[in-house]
């Protein structure tokens, strides 16, 4: 948090630098099943964020000492590509991405029926192709769609969003300038059907009232994101259906002896 509240990021009419109101999300687009090799995948564009998620597994867990004889382990790797940010990021993991990978793994572990797949690993790879604040939330949003696309049994999808504080106002879904100069940042993720919170972080400064308002905004937004996630999966499977229909109509491939 820059904490510099002198930079005016919200107009007197309550309009933000990118034209949104304080309780408005950036445009969100989700597509499921975008990669050929992965068992499941999803692409998310959230404002100027562009994120790909891929799922491999359940597959043999190695190193073997990580195996759990009672359940699968969920291993997420979050990574930002070198040209995803304005100053080139050196490829490879850093302390920030290791921490984000851990909290996303933990959030996903809870929704996956891991007890169905003992001794295996479910590997989730999140690649941030272009970053504009809120990448961990976009990544988690993409990851749960990719898990569903992989056909892995889950309790629910996991929508995620960040709420922040800018110019002493609680605002939904910070973009880059707001993140740089904002006063607080609070990413959350939830299970929409139960309202349980799976990811919660906060830095900056918020009063209790501001926190309550942030949760209210975040929970409402998660429900909207959830609808977009479900729609992406519905479109994915209606596409698959129509492709199957087309295949049935086509003449059979000549068999090679």
């Amino acid at each position: 948090m820059g904490g510099n509240s002198n930079v005016k990021l919200i107009s007197d009419d309550g309009i933000r630098v990118d034209g949104r109101r304080v309780d408005e999300l950036r445009p969100l687009r989700i597509e499921a099943g975008v990669l050929k090799r992965a068992d499941g995948s999803a692409y998310v564009e959230f404002g100027k964020n562009k994120v790909l998620a891929a799922v491999y597994g359940p597959r043999e867990c190695h190193p073997r000492h990580m195996q759990n004889p009672a359940k699968a382990i969920v291993q997420c790797k979050y990574n930002m590509i070198a040209f995803s940010v304005s100053d080139r990021k050196r490829p490879g993991p850093d302390r920030r991405s290791v921490e984000i990978s851990k909290i996303i793994s933990e959030a996903l572990d809870y929704v996956v029926f891991t007890e169905n797949f003992p001794r295996t690993s479910i590997d989730v790879y999140i690649e941030v192709l272009q970053a504009n604040a809120g990448t961990r939330c976009a990544g988690l949003t993409a990851a749960s769609v990719a898990l569903a696309d992989a056909g892995i049994p889950m309790k629910d999808l996991v929508p995620s969003v960040a709420v922040g504080k800018v110019n002493d106002q609680v605002v939904l879904d910070l973009q880059k300038e707001e993140d740089n100069f904002g006063q607080a940042d609070l990413p959350i993720a939830m299970i929409p059907r139960t309202g349980e919170i799976l990811l919660l972080q906060m830095d900056g400064h918020m009063t209790r009232a501001e926190f309550d308002r942030a949760i209210e905004l975040g929970v409402g937004a998660c429900k909207r994101i959830y609808e977009v996630q479900k729609d992406a999966l519905a479109r994915r499977y209606s596409m698959e259906k129509s492709a199957e229909d087309a295949a049935e109509d086509a003449p059979a491939e000549p068999q090679e002896g």
Partner: protein, 257 residues
């Protein structure tokens, strides 16, 4: 790459079809899969492109910064090329420092760009001996279904074509387009028994004995070559691959414009 295994039945299928002069996807021996090029994919990069050849999907971005020149080239900009075979792209890719495959890929692409003198490196000098532009080309494989070399090279070329040098942000005057003087194109083929197959799919690569990448410029002159894999090529096969690269290179060059 770990576990590059393939079923015998698939191998047999490829061999039997080849004996009749056919490929699994019914392409001619010298035919590329459908190619799509999406220039300017990233807003955070100075130049970028996403290239798909069939199911193979590669994202390339260019970042630039100001730094010191090498002592032996005091008036020339510096080129750096890096390739990441991220685990999102294939069940056989693993996270960690670049392995021999990604190093070979990056170096073959780098050589094609450097040796063709595609970029006017003297045009990237700010003050001789003191300051030049440093150019990072980062290649990310997103989905791996064979022929990474040509996908990465096309991506790099397309990304460099739309690269704007960020002079203003670095207090070095006005932004300008990256000075380019040539348009090299690489074409890769593999040898399976006595057949030559251009633009191999992953399955074809697994069956192949040898691979050759030939990079030519707009005059049809050779600019870089790389033979890979354990098999041997006859001189006739090499001549055939060179002629094919020159011919197909002209077609591919039109896609870049």
């Amino acid at each position: 790459m770990a576990r590059a295994v393939m079923s015998e039945i698939k191998k047999d299928h490829i061999h039997k079809l080849l004996a009749k002069g056919r490929r699994v996807d019914n392409r001619a021996w010298d035919e590329f899969r459908p190619i799509s090029i999406q220039p300017g994919f990233s807003e955070t990069a100075e130049g970028s492109a996403r290239v798909r050849i069939g199911n193979t999907d590669v994202l390339v971005g260019v970042k630039m910064g100001v730094g010191a020149p090498f002592n032996d080239t005091p008036n020339k900009g510096v080129l750096t090329t890096n390739a990441e075979l991220i685990p999102l792209a294939s069940p056989t890719f693993e996270s960690g420092p670049p392995d021999e495959n990604s190093i070979e890929l990056a170096r073959v692409v780098d050589r094609g760009i450097r040796e063709s003198q595609m970029i006017d490196l003297e045009g990237l000098c700010i003050e001789p001996k003191k300051e030049v532009w440093i150019l990072f080309t980062d290649i990310y494989v997103l989905d791996y279904d064979g022929n990474l070399f040509d996908a990465a090279f096309l991506g790099a070329i397309a990304a460099l074509k739309n690269t704007i040098v960020p002079a203003k942000a670095n207090d070095k005057g006005d932004d300008f387009a990256l000075p380019l003087q040539h348009l090299p194109i690489s074409v890769t083929a593999v040898q399976i028994e006595n057949s030559i197959l251009v633009d191999p799919t992953l399955d074809e690569e697994k069956v192949a004995a040898a691979r050759l990448t030939v990079t030519t410029d707009e005059n049809g002159d050779l600019r870089a070559m790389q033979k890979g894999m354990a098999g041997a090529l006859t001189l006739d096969q090499i001549y055939k691959m060179i002629e094919t690269s020159q011919r197909l290179g002209n077609d591919l060059r039109k896609l870049i414009g």
